[in-house]
Amino acid sequence: MADVVARRDILRTGAAGAGMWLAGLRIDELTGAVRSIPGQPFEASVEERPGTSDDLAYLTIAEAAELIRRRQLSPVELVDACLDRIERHDTVIQAWVKVLADEARAQAKAAADEIARRGPRSPLHGIPIGHKDLYDMKGVRTTAGSKVRTDAPPAKHDSAVVAKLRAAGAIALGKTNTHEFAYGVRTPPTSNPWDVTRIPGGSSGGTAAALAAGMCLGGSGSDTGGSIRIPSSLCNTVGIKPTFGRVSKVGLVPLAWSEDHAGPMARSVEDCALMLNLIAGHDTRDATTASARVPDFTAGLGKSVRDLVVGVPTSVFFEGADPETEKMVRDAIPALKSAGVKIKEIDMPTTQAAAATAYLVIQLVEPLAAHEPYLRQRPHDYQSQTQALFALGTPWTAQHYMRAQRIRTMNIRQWMKVFDDVDAVLAPTTPRPAPPKEEGEATGVFELVNYTSAFDFNGCPSISVPADLTKDGLPVGLMLSARPFNEPTLLQLAYAYQEETGFNRRRPKLD
């Protein structure tokens, strides 16, 4: 059973705001509760500071930033609230590989002092976040969840994402668990906070579980087949896989170079937008990053979504979904319609079936090439299932690989035509809620990537937002995907859905 925390307990917006949003009016015009002024940072208005340490740990980044800005909350208190929940719950959840408690407290004290003198550097100043243990953090070993790297030296430099968030004043609370080298969707030994007998999803399962358990306010993830969105779906959190090339991957352990994406994870759409504002942009050290203009990703939040067009696929994306999951996601359609969103059924690209195999060829061949040095030195330090995945990369020739990439070109062109007619495409993030842990031992429960992987293949931005709980109390996510570099529209739509439903405010019961 979920412990629902009504937004009105924290935000002025309340149910009335959501109801009026349904009439197609802007929440900020109605209540002043949400402010998004071009050129100015997004802020969530907070009525009053939550009274308990647990409620502090469950603040959104936007709320905490506002309280910090008003000097009503200290980063020290916020870090202590998260560390307290880690101490109480992480023996069961096992979201963290390494908790940097002393360092985080020292950073929080420094942040508090600086904010008292000069005000916050950014909305992330003083905010505790968790980094997936695939990102280098200076002075800390990057294990990538593998025995292969248990004796690796500490990283000499921060990865680009860690460095940017650190420069913005975010507090690195520690490293979160990942499925081994991000090559899977289970993330052992981490447990799902909604049902500890089930997986949190993966590969960024540690970050999602930590967020759901109130152990940090934001985090980093990476997504090659769905690794940001799948655990977000299974843990009732929010995660956006930005456009390929939007965020630098310098210092991120690679899995498949042409399918890897770095991105933010949090408990709200606005928090993902705030983080993306800080980590997006061209990086001369990463040839895959794009020179596309970086907009203010919060600018559209709270604005009317009237006349935006959302496409509902007539094939592929609901294929194999369990009926309850499908119903929960389709229930979003009337809610979007009543807000003025136009719904349109859309056909999938004719290359989509071949694209599934083409995705797979790239997904199996590139990791085999990336891991060749370790596979020569210590192959049997990999988990058995990871070794099996490497074996599945062996039958493909160079000709097959190039065929896969060329099918990708055709598929991307067809998707561009899809996005000529619609602003976003709606689908379930995962075909089902979190499976029991033991179920993945034979198959890896890889069916969880069935829908998400299409957008790693075509590189389009894609977000997962909570879409209610099943009758057994398990979360499932709704996925929205858009044209390359159109994250602002994606975030605008996702925010509208989030504010209408409030599903992201639900907490698992851990005590």
Binding site: T288, A354, L360, R408, T409, M410, E441, V445, V449
Partner: protein, 69 residues
């Protein structure tokens, strides 16, 4: 069959105690999926006709028109 289902089925055929040897002969395409009885997706993948002028998209460099929106 969708991508995840295909991986799941191929993994199931390898078994839970698989060990990998980089120097061992590679799998055949028939072994990859269903032991040669029904290669399914692989046939579809190999049969798709690709125009001569379709360039590879390695690195996913988007065309300029993709930047709209």
């Amino acid at each position: 069959m969708l991508a995840g289902d295909l991986i799941a089925r191929a993994l199931l055929r390898r078994g839970p105690k698989f060990t990998f040897d980089l120097d061992a002969p590679p799998l055949t395409l028939a072994e990859f999926d269903q032991g040669g009885t029904d290669p399914g997706n692989i046939v579809e993948f190999l049969a798709l006709e690709i125009d001569f002028d379709i360039e590879p998209a390695t690195g996913l460099i988007f065309p300029p028109e993709a930047h709209r929106g």
